[in-house]
């Protein structure tokens, strides 16, 4: 019976069924030094849904995205996208890194950053033609940044930078979108604009996975959630996954009861 309990808590429920999903992670363990950032993590992200990855600081949320994209080498585990190793299907995946990871002092313009999203398609020498530019502009329109196309990127506010990053991801024309803390340090208007774009992506059948840190907005923005703290605590529809027990298990003592009440309504 003890065994049943653990399985029910969603600890190790790996099976083969999820492997053709847009993104399926099995038994992923990543360490930096002695302590694991992720331990034996299983997760499945379904098509046509917006999923949040939730957990306290240092829970391994960003590490999960990096491991998925092959930017860190796991100790063990596998990652499949659309039934294939991620390496094979990188062109179907768009990635929005944390804003703070790049040097915004870099000498380039907004439109050039969006065009970077077409790097695979442009290759080494193909010239940037008008239709590339038009498409890049269209992406900027979708995030409401079309008037900033010629600006130097260092002149943008945090929220504007984030929208440019999203426009670049849109320019990739991918099916699976991985975003790392896109709402961190952005203004309310930007947050609304980004959510609208993500919802339109979902509505067109794309898969959106967002590392998210604001528990208060999880249930308004997302259909599904993955709660992690080094290991998976819970995974599933937001309504069933966000319970006092799972949140307590994810955040330990870090959530006051008042906060819990607020999050859970």
């Amino acid at each position: 019976m003890q065994l049943g309990l653990a399985a029910q808590d969603g600890r190790i429920v790996a099976s083969d069924d999820g492997l053709t999903a847009p993104l399926a992670v099995r038994g992923l363990t990543v360490t930096y030094g002695e302590k694991p950032a992720l331990f034996a993590l299983d997760a499945t992200f379904d098509a046509g849904a917006m999923s949040a990855i939730i957990g306290p600081n240092g829970a391994g949320k960003s590490t999960l995205l990096k491991a998925v994209l092959g930017m860190v080498t796991p100790v063990s585990g596998t990652v499949h996208a659309y039934g294939q190793p991620v390496r094979e299907v990188l062109d179907r995946i768009a990635y929005v890194p944390q804003r703070a990871t790049v040097d915004w002092d870099f000498p380039t313009r907004v439109i050039d950053v969006v065009l970077m999203g077409m790097a695979r398609e442009l290759g080494l020498l193909r010239r940037v033609r008008q239709d590339h530019r038009d498409r890049a502009m269209a992406c900027l329109v979708r995030v409401g940044m079309e008037h900033f196309a010629e600006r130097q990127i260092g002149q943008l506010s945090g929220g504007q930078q984030q929208r440019v990053f999203l426009a670049r991801a849109l320019a990739q024309g991918a099916d699976l979108y991985l975003l790392d803390e896109p709402f961190a340090g952005v203004d309310a208007a930007t947050e609304k604009a980004i959510v609208a774009v993500l919802k339109s992506l979902r509505d067109s059948g794309r898969t959106v996975v967002v590392v998210h840190h604001d528990l208060a907005t999880v249930s308004t923005y997302f259909e599904r959630a993955l709660l992690i703290n080094t290991t998976r605590v819970a995974e599933g529809p937001v309504a069933t996954v966000l319970t006092p027990e799972t949140l307590q298990a994810t955040y330990g003592g870090r959530l006051a009861h008042a906060q819990l009440a607020q999050i859970l309504g």
């Binding site: 950053v113 790097a119 080494l124 020498l125």
Partner: protein, 305 residues
């Protein structure tokens, strides 16, 4: 006949100086933006052990073994810096300091231990180069530029430097897009599946090539100065990468020309009879340009975070 003397004595060194400066400045732009500006410094330090080993292996003072040795040493240094940085969990600066000082010390020791006194191979030459000696004896005037026989007598450093400069320019143009992308946002570049490591390596190889060829012609001082000063000055003038690289080329060329002319003729104008080190003067000029850009460049101000 001033023309003839100029073509024979000054034109080749000026051209070689320009080409060397440009070949170093172009990769320097990317190194600067990647916060790896000092890689150029490290590379130029390890050139010395490289040429000594090249000499000891081939037992002759000929260009190719020594350049191969220098190029090999540069690559070994870059890889070693990476290994030491990761394995020792050191900041890049400390890792560079460890590696280049070790290799440079090894080079000096080898030089002292081996019988190189009979050949022209010494530390001074490695540092200052000998730009002033690269003259074109076969030239009789501007017409010699069209005289195949006279052209054959050009100092071999000139075509070598020209080819290096051409390769560096060509590779930079070819890899422009991925280099720019991986320099700006390495994480995104990796997520796109770009070979980020191979690109870094290509950049370093390009820098090493420029450093080795330029060092042979003009010495290490110019190499270090040109990797950093013209790109840094250009960065303070513009916010567009293309313009920055273009401007850095212009600044490099200006440093080389004015530096050479001032070193060669300046003392004469002041009434002395000897010229001074052209390499030192070129480095100094690049420093002055940087100082001007830092004082007045339109894009000099630090970004308010």
């Amino acid at each position: 006949m001033i023309g003839a003397e100029f073509v024979a004595l000054s034109l080749p060194p000026i051209l070689i100086g320009c080409l060397a400066a440009i070949a170093c400045a172009i990769p320097g732009n990317f190194l600067l933006l990647r916060r790896q500006a000092l890689i150029g410094d490290a590379i130029s330090h390890v050139v010395l052990p490289g040429i000594v080993i090249g000499f000891l292996v081939s037992r002759q003072v000929s260009t190719w073994p020594m350049m191969l040795g220098a190029g090999g040493a540069a690559l070994v240094a870059v890889l070693l810096i990476e290994v030491v940085r990761r394995a020792g969990k050191l900041e890049p600066g400390a890792a560079m300091g460890v590696v280049f000082s070790t290799m440079f010390a090894g080079g000096v020791l080898l030089l002292e231990q081996s019988d190189t006194s009979s050949v022209h191979l010494d530390v001074q030459h490695a540092l200052y180069g000998n730009l002033e000696s690269l003259i074109w004896l076969d030239a009789t005037g501007w017409a010699s530029l069209f005289d195949m026989q006279a052209l054959a007598g050009l100092p071999p450093e000139l075509p070598r430097m020209a080819i290096t400069c051409l390769i560096v320019t060509g590779v930079t143009a070819l890899l422009w897009r991925p280099l720019k992308l991986s320099t700006f946002d390495e994480g995104f570049a990796r997520a796109l599946g770009l070979p980020v490591r191979a690109l870094s390596l290509a950049l370093v190889i390009m820098a090493a090539m420029a450093a080795v060829a330029a060092f042979d012609a003009v010495g290490s001082i110019i190499v270090i100065a040109m990797f950093i000063c013209p790109p840094a000055a250009a960065r303070l003038m513009t916010d567009r990468l293309g313009q920055q690289v273009g401007l850095s080329v212009v600044f490099a060329a200006i440093s080389a020309v004015t530096g050479y002319v001032l070193a060669g003729y300046g003392p004469l104008w002041l009434g002395f009879d000897n010229s001074v080190s052209a390499a030192g003067m070129i480095a100094t000029m690049s420093g002055l340009i940087l100082a001007l850009a830092a004082g007045f460049g339109p894009r000099r101000a630090p970004r308010i975070a």
